[in-house]
């Protein structure tokens, strides 16, 4: 059995997915800053240039052009993966991403393929300041045509990246930076794909549904353990994996069972994804909403900028203790 799995960390799982897809399809190409010269800005692409040559390329520091060339290439026969170092720099290319990649085809009624993956590191941690740790996924949800993937584990990251590369629509793949090199997971050696819009129950429970993604998954799981051990509360942890499309059915199913809904993310609270998710839930299942045992709650980072301080940063974003505390309130 051992040869049928590999132990991979998060970033290697993503690398493996890209490599497999580049082997499978010669039209896949990838570019961004220092993918060759530094083997990826975070050292995530070892051996790629050696294997694929000029299908992996270094760009100047021109995020707007990197992003938009991805779109143009994707319309003209290339299955493009463009790498933007961090979501803070995605903000630089916001117009191209939000309006053009996310809307221009629709604006003109063009229904042909545009297979583009925007690959970007995201996630709070390290105290590197707002641009290196920004979480702007909720702003991208407001774009009409962007699929948004935010995996929490190496397994999910690999399966979702393969789906992203094969998708004929543009996909924003937001990789969770703080876990890039943190811990390995057993990954099947044989190929698997994870469909978009399917949330994953990372832990079953009966008292409260905790909807999370990316960096909050780990914290929610830790909280669920504490809640179970110390308070006898059974929390279900639902990992969305993709924000668009959103697996609203999974949320409704879970809340039908638990009667309580908490949505938590590391992104800033005001304007974060939680409000949208809560509203979607209410719209999709007004009857379940009416019979909630307690109003929907959310957790997000404090409504201030992230400073260059790992310590302040930690205090600003929700942790497992915050999850425990709010769930206890919800059970009271």
């Amino acid at each position: 059995m051992a040869e049928q799995t590999q132990m991979l960390n998060y970033v290697s799982a993503i690398g493996a997915a890209i490599r497999e897809e580049m082997q499978r399809d010669k039209t896949v190409a990838m570019w961004g800053e220092d993918l060759v010269s530094m083997r990826g800005a975070y050292g995530e692409n070892p051996g790629m240039y050696e294997e694929f040559g000029d299908r992996i390329m270094d760009t100047p520091i021109v995020e707007q052009a990197i992003l938009a060339t991805g779109m143009g290439a994707a319309l003209t026969g290339t299955r493009a993966i463009v790498s933007i170092m961090t979501t803070g720099f995605l903000a630089i290319a916001f117009d191209g991403l939000f309006m053009e990649v996310g809307g221009l085809r629709q604006e003109f009624g063009y229904t042909g393929p545009m297979p583009l993956v925007v690959f970007c590191r995201t996630g709070v941690g390290g105290g590197f300041g707002a641009h290196h740790c920004a979480s702007i996924e909720s702003t991208l949800m407001h774009s009409p045509g962007l699929k948004i993937v935010m995996p929490s584990t190496p397994y999910d990251a690999k399966g979702l990246m393969k789906t992203a590369i094969r998708d004929d629509d543009p996909v924003v793949f937001l990789a969770h930076g703080p876990v890039y090199f943190r811990g390995k997971q057993e990954i099947p050696a044989e190929e698997y794909l994870i469909p978009f819009g399917k949330a994953d129950v990372k832990k079953e429970g009966t008292d409260v549904t905790i909807v999370v993604y990316a960096g909050m998954v780990r914290k929610a799981l830790a909280a669920a353990e504490t809640l179970s051990k110390e308070n006898g509360i059974s929390a279900e942890v639902l990992d969305l994996r993709t924000l668009v499309p959103l697996d609203i059915d999974a949320i409704v199913t879970s809340v039908k069972k638990t009667g309580r809904l908490l949505i938590a993310h590391e992104a800033m609270k005001r304007g974060g994804a939680a409000g949208e998710i809560a509203m979607r839930f209410t719209e999709a299942a007004p009857d379940v909403a009416k019979t909630l045992k307690t109003p929907v709650r959310r957790l997000g980072a404090k409504n201030v900028a992230l400073p260059r301080s790992a310590e302040l940063e930690r205090m600003l974003i929700p942790n497992d203790k915050d999850v425990v505390a709010i769930v206890k309130e919800m059970m009271a």
């Binding site: 021109v62 060339t69 229904t111 045509g145």
Partner: protein, 320 residues
Amino acid sequence: MEIANDKLLEMHRNLLTSRRLGEKLYEIFCAGGSGMPWIHRGIGEEAIPIAVCANLRKDDYLKLTFRLDYCLFAKGLSLTEVIASECMRDCSELGRPRSPYFDPDFGLLAHTGAGGEEIPIYLGSAISIMLKKTDQVCVCVMGDGFASRGPVHESMVMAASWNLPIVFMIQNNQYGMGTSAKKIYKMKDISDRAKAYGFPGETVDGNDVIATYEVVKKHIDRARNGGGPSLVVGETYRLAGHYEGDPQIYRPKGEIDEWWKKDPLPRYQKRLLEMGVLTEKDIAELESTIKVQMEDATKSALALPFASYENHLKTAIDEL
């Protein structure tokens, strides 16, 4: 440079067609109810797009300025498709995309509401060309105004660094909305801008069809043969207001009249007559042929249904 008579005549036919098409679109807009949300006229600036198209194949990528998108018929679209696109009709009944302005198979990736954003998008097509190792090229024509924008610069940096098969062209019609290009650009020659990227730059009289054809050809051939990017500046003039209704308070007295004298259409016709390539009779005949084509195309285009709500909703990627 020797230009074949066929090419000269093709350009004349296209130049005359573009003038009449521009007039027809203006007429349709003024009549109202066509579905055209606004109009930014390109009259007097048609020589540049026509000379560019004369150097391109169907599989080359081309961006024109939004003001002269209607000249895309010279890239292979039918007049019907052009008029239909301008009037938000649905061309899928013609077996084409809803708007043929967005059709990568014809080398067209549309324009965006934010000027300048298209340039790096089109640059992406040059990356596809590089990866596929074909001999296609990409030509991006942009206005003097939008040329100021950041993404244009980033595209030039990247094109130079990767030696991509692209020709950047600035259609300097002397104005961006109400702002004179002279107030923005302090260098004598805008094509000096190419020096910032280490590729060739050249300025040409953009109201002279033959001169523009020759200069553009040189740079397109160079790009096609692996020579990399370059910049061409075509000097012309926006004879119309920025938009229909513009009071044009910014325009110095007499300036417009001076430029009407340089109108590329009579200039080119005079030249061809002198060269003996064309007769007055040919022109008259062509005018009446075009007139018929234009009426037919307008009729067919306006008979097409408007872009449909139901189809538009189908472009959603998640719930509505």
